[in-house]
Symmetry: C2
């Protein structure tokens, strides 16, 4: 675990390794100086991909990699239906929401049909960061208060407002004075038995602390599967007492579905659905248009009104005919390609295979997940102590075997498996074989 950042830095390329790179890679890395010091590359030997198809990515040298990490190309890389929809729309028109266009309305209605009936309004934006920024502003306006709760390793985005609600960016990122953090619902170490009651207790404590400082409670912003906290899906339903308490306390519940949404968890289309709860506000992004910039804030008319009545909001590129064409094609393909069912079936069988491996490799302390979103906890054998260094070695071994994964969790020791939803049975077999080989290589 580094002193500055975990989630965003834990398996990044470090400048000290520049000399170890081949000449072509080193030249590209050096050219990135113009982007400034905030940009990060994955891996000790960064990868240079020039082509993608389905679950595979290809380097400039023609080497093939299995993508078990990227959720943006949810339908698969370079999906022909999205490419076709975008190309066709670009040839027709691409204006903005101050003129009428059917694309945004058709998609808005279709998208709302996937959400609980109480959620009847949808606004479009470009990034998950913009979506969470707007959602928090809506919750603050609706509550008349400013106090927001998040988990201690949350990542919700990069705007000024949201960076200050994203402790995972690192210790150098100051948190807002009117926010509080609750502990990660770490079921591996706390058990799943009464995790919901435990979490509700933590929430109550922080609401009380906000009020003790004269700060009213606006609401809670939670990733429905706690992606950056380390992936905690179980037991489905544990969020119910938490959200009941939030509502009793007069706050609003914002479900951040940027990572778990759009069928990824297999058991449901939205991550919060697994918990049997209805959010006041839902934010979404990443896989929404398979790589074209598109995000959204869905909410209830009565929650939106305090922010929106009398307050115009315009977002230049958001909800444009091209973005809506890409998003519509993506939603249609999720259905046509049966990707939710696929996420459920392949995810479940992948989890079983990994649990089987865990019996032979004590470093693999926990295997958890829902659908095609898994967290694999790497620990010091015989304990539950996070082992960041071994986790980094493991994903570098996976890279050597041409399989892409990454890390998350406060200690940077949880392998994050979050492939395109078009992950096939043979992709799964390839993954398991590479993972077993990588675990074996650790001991070698």
């Amino acid at each position: 675990m580094t002193s500055t950042s975990t989630i965003m830095d834990s398996n990044s390329f470090k400048a000290k390794d520049l000399a170890s790179l081949d000449k072509a890679t080193a030249a590209l890395v050096a050219r990135r100086e113009v982007l400034g010091p905030s940009y990060r590359l994955f891996y000790q030997k960064p990868l240079h991909f020039v082509r993608g198809k389905g679950t595979r990515l290809y380097t400039a040298d023609g080497e093939e990699y299995l993508d078990a990490y990227n959720n943006i190309p949810s339908l698969g890389h370079s999906h022909p239906k999205v490419a076709q929809a975008v190309s066709q729309q670009l040839g027709l028109i691409n204006t903005h929401t101050r003129y009428l266009h059917e694309g945004i309305l058709d998609y808005a209605e279709d998208l709302l049909s996937t959400l609980p009936g109480a959620i009847d309004r949808i606004m479009f934006l470009l990034s998950g960061s913009e979506a969470n920024d707007l959602a928090v502003r809506i919750a603050k306006a609706a509550s008349g208060s400013t106090g927001i709760l998040v988990t201690q390793e949350a990542y919700h985005g990069n705007t000024d407002l949201i960076a200050k609600l994203s402790p995972a960016i690192g210790a150098d990122q100051p948190m807002a004075v009117d926010m509080r953090m609750i502990p990660t619902p770490d079921t591996y170490r706390l058990g799943t038995g009464d995790i919901g009651q435990w979490m509700a207790g933590c929430v109550k404590e922080q609401i009380d602390d906000l009020r003790r400082h004269g700060i009213g409670f606006a609401g809670i912003l939670l990733d429905s599967i706690f992606s950056s906290d380390g992936v905690f899906p179980d037991d489905a339903g544990f969020l119910r007492p938490v959200i009941d308490l939030v509502h009793e306390e007069g706050g609003f519940y914002i479900a951040d579905e940027v990572q778990p949404g759009f069928a990824r968890t297999g058991e449901a289309f939205w991550g919060f659905e697994r918990h049997g709860i209805v959010p006041d506000i839902v934010t979404m992004g990443k896989p929404m248009a398979n790589g074209i910039a598109c995000s959204g804030v869905a909410t209830k008319a009565e929650v939106l009104s305090a922010f929106a009545e009398g307050s115009p909001y315009f977002n230049t590129f958001a909800g444009s005919p091209v973005a809506m064409a890409a998003a519509s094609a993506t939603l249609a393909a999720i259905r046509e390609d049966g990707l939710q069912e696929n996420a459920k079936a392949i995810g479940s069988s992948l989890k079983e295979g990994l649990q089987e491996l865990a019996r032979s490799f004590p470093e693999l302390g926990d295997v958890r997940g829902a659908g095609l979103f898994l967290g694999l906890e790497i620990v010091v054998p015989g304990s539950t102590r996070p082992d960041h260094a071994t986790a980094v070695k493991l994903i570098e071994e996976m890279r050597e075997r041409h399989v892409l994964v990454s890390l998350c969790g406060p200690a940077g020791n949880v392998v994050k498996v979050r492939p395109p939803l078009a992950f096939s049975n043979s992709d799964k077999d390839l993954f398991l074989s590479a993972f077993e080989g990588s675990l074996k290589a650790l001991g070698a």
Copy 2:
């Protein structure tokens, strides 16, 4: 002038006019309820465009309109080179900045070559809002202070941070406690003679007021042509004493080039260049990729370092191969199609034609602009008093003549002419003829 908002509301469709619409339009407007109350449509009779080509837009009924307002499709609507670049890249790969890709580097270097040599870093984002949000954070980190100045009718975006620095959103939008507003440099009413010294005086006053309240001065955020304030380009150079003062006071100068940038002003590629000044930070967006979401923050390594050293920043869709392909094709086409020269020549001749009209129509109080960005001040004849109601009538008359323009300025009385840069000589003639007809119709 309405009580809530000016720039964003002044010529919007109002719900009370629903009954006056034809059935098909009314049905589309009604369906927009799902988008909530923050969305706005232009015109008393909103327009439904289904196709665009060059400077023309076509309604569902096949009616043709001349676009003299939209700057996003800077090369023209549905430009084939951008459509082709995007389609080709979508068929290859569209990942993110944590893998190496030459597209972002080639474009970054090319883009920086258009900027002053001192500006040597560029970060990519999606919207002008995100760009300004990051720019202000960079200025705050570099200065160690939080006080920001903007003009009194500024619009810089819609994130929480930037909305609080955007008084043009309307009186319902609370401004940040650590910002101050300076008056619009209204050369029509104040003259151009010593506008720079006058503005520097206003800036000094507000910096002093910030300090009186214990708030250090971080910098000033200025649209280089004061787009939402009413378009004030002259005399080129008037910003020099203002920026000299900002630097003397230890602040940073952020040039918001989201509207004036990318060759629009004709005389220069960037709006600030006309003033002979070098910003510390430059933000850009709208026309950058001819309609594909893309924005940027360009700055100096030494300005960026306080924010960026140790602080990772990742933006999912920004700098993606597809966004970079669109932006590269756009920059290439601006050069190949000679659009800066075109903006200068056609803009100058359009301004002359309008100045000619002003001699016959006393409602047209002032005609000003640089390149293809003009502001036409509509006033009570014989005075400099803004006439919002007449300005609204005028742009509705223009709509009847199938020419698109909009309004800006604190009183919502300045006609904003900001067409695609591919505006031709015959487009200009058509515009002038429609404008003359509209002015005549006002008196009828």
